[in-house]
Amino acid sequence: MQAKLRVRRFDPESGDGVHYQSYVLEVPDYATVLDILLQIREELDDSLALRCSCCSAICGSCAMRINGQARLACKTKARDLAADGEEILVEPVGNMGVIKDLVADMDSFWQKARAVEPWLQPDGPPPEREYLVPHEVMRALTDVVACIMCGACVSDCTVLETELGLGKPPDQTFLGPAALAKAYRYVGDPRDAADANRLAALSRLEGIWDCTRCNFCVEVCPKGVAPMDQILALRRKAIERGYDEYLGARHTLEFEKTVRESSWL
């Protein structure tokens, strides 16, 4: 089939600004957008810079905005987007700087992940053998650790887009869905004993209460992590543990009171 791609180009060395370049080429029917980009590199233009590695949706390198939505290029079949040969728009992920072409600057992304202290903080020395944990608990956490840190959720996060649009420096913006889902992975882990500190830190400005519940992160996540669901779970836990000072928490508690007063239950 014939594929038409329109790709956002930016070369910091050239002095030209951002521009869009179109490519037309014959590709196999089952080709993914990544397959096509690699074919473009091989046959037409090897200066097109992108990140990719595993080609099987597990390394997270190839997150890009394809037709305006963040996806993994290796998991996006061209024929699903362009059954009649329409042009496919390919751009780097949103809400991040661009180093070159489709290569995003993920520094602020990694910095936010680090900010939630994403390592196990147990209380006291470990047992001689493994911690005993129910299978169901590990099973539930497996859905969250399925996150491959690809950045799709952050790319399309409404709050981040809004704040960056207001000119806020990246390190003063919303922690974002990836970092918060990662935080939940530890709050939800019975072996971790730092709940109190974590929930306190997450309940502050630009934390769990700053999510606008638009579900974009859930929609675009290629691994079914559903970051917003983890954010809601963190909210539940935060209130349960008494971290209810912050505006968002108070708002929620007032709402709950109203509902309980006017409902049958």
Binding site: G68, T158, V159, T162, E163, G165, L166, W209, D210, C211, T212, R213, C214, N215, F216, V218, E219, A226, L232, R235, R236, I239, L247, G248, H251, T252, L253, F255, E256, T258, V259, S262, S263, W264, L265
Partner: protein, 293 residues
């Protein structure tokens, strides 16, 4: 055509009473019968779910049970209600044990939810059940020349896995289809599927207002005469917060925002004074003038 009708909670009742009035009027004109479920509890709006998910699902299950008891499908007039209902239904459907657990609580009140109620927003009802062809026939005042920017509301679009988009792919563009069936032009703009910022009111007003500003200004830039939304919460932000949004950017936006039912009402020949425009923060005069009213 008859539905168990969930008109929404106190928020739209107090904040946007024009929505209920026009919804009732539109359904009446179209011959859609509504059996009131106003005793049903609030859906939780996504907020309650952040406090106690089981409690919220129990409340929603009771609403489903009430509809089931009536033997009728359930209709909403709010994107958020629709989305919350759909997500609750999905959870209850995928985990029979969970449904059983919730039914135990319902049984104490003599209620039971078997898991089989259809829940649809009025917008979907019109496009899928009533049919746009039939709707066109009911139009007495075609909105020709009116450029309308659709604004869906997050909960009516995401997560798509819960909203039946697999079976009903047309739901992705149903608002545009309806606008066109009424004779108007649907304006394409990026913001149509984005978030209005309502959930951030009182939590982060700066962001909330910025979102309103972005979408209303974009619609304006794309030449829209007005916006239309099937969600009263979106309406409260896009309309109610629009003045602050303008101040934030040192400009006056003046983008009228209509409820879905007001737009339909205009096309069905209901007179403007009966459509509650006087309740809006942003005047709708320019729209009426364009339509020669």
């Amino acid at each position: 055509m008859k539905f168990a009708y969930w008109p929404g909670c106190s928020v739209p009742r107090q904040g946007t009473p024009e929505l209920r009035i026009t919804a009732a009027a539109v359904c009446d004109k179209l011959g859609i019968e509504l059996e009131d479920l106003s005793l049903a509890p609030c859906t939780g709006s996504g907020i309650l779910q952040a406090r106690d998910l089981v409690y919220a699902d129990t409340l929603n299950a009771s609403t489903f049970a009430m509809a089931e008891d009536m033997g009728l499908p359930l209709m909403t007039i709010c994107s958020t209600c629709q989305g919350v209902f759909s997500q609750a239904q999905k959870r209850l459907k995928e985990k029979p044990d969970y449904l059983a657990q919730i039914n135990q609580t319902l049984e104490e009140q003599g209620m039971k939810y078997s898991g089989n109620v259809e829940v649809k927003h009025l917008l979907w009802v019109l496009v899928e059940d009533y049919g746009l062809g039939e709707l066109k026939k009911a139009v007495v005042r075609s909105l020709t020349g009116l450029r309308v920017a659709p604004f869906y509301g997050c909960y009516l679009l995401r997560p798509s896995a819960a909203l039946g988009f697999g079976e009903h792919p047309a739901r992705r563009t149903c608002l545009e289809s309806l606008i066109e069936a009424l004779g108007a032009d649907a304006v394409d703009f990026r913001g149509k599927t984005l978030c209005c910022g309502y959930p951030l009111v009182g939590v982060n007003d700066e962001n909330s207002a910025a979102m309103v500003g972005t979408h209303t200004l974009e619609a304006k830039e794309k030449g829209a005469d007005c916006m239309v939304t099937p969600c009263p919460l979106c309406h409260m932000n896009l309309d109610g917060v629009q003045p602050q949004a303008g101040e934030q950017r040192n400009t006056r936006i003046n983008m009228p925002v209509l409820h879905l039912t007001q737009l339909i009402g205009l096309a069905l020949g209901i007179d403007p004074p009966d459509l509650g425009f006087d309740r809006h923060a942003v005047q709708v005069k320019s729209v009426l003038e364009k339509l020669g009213l």
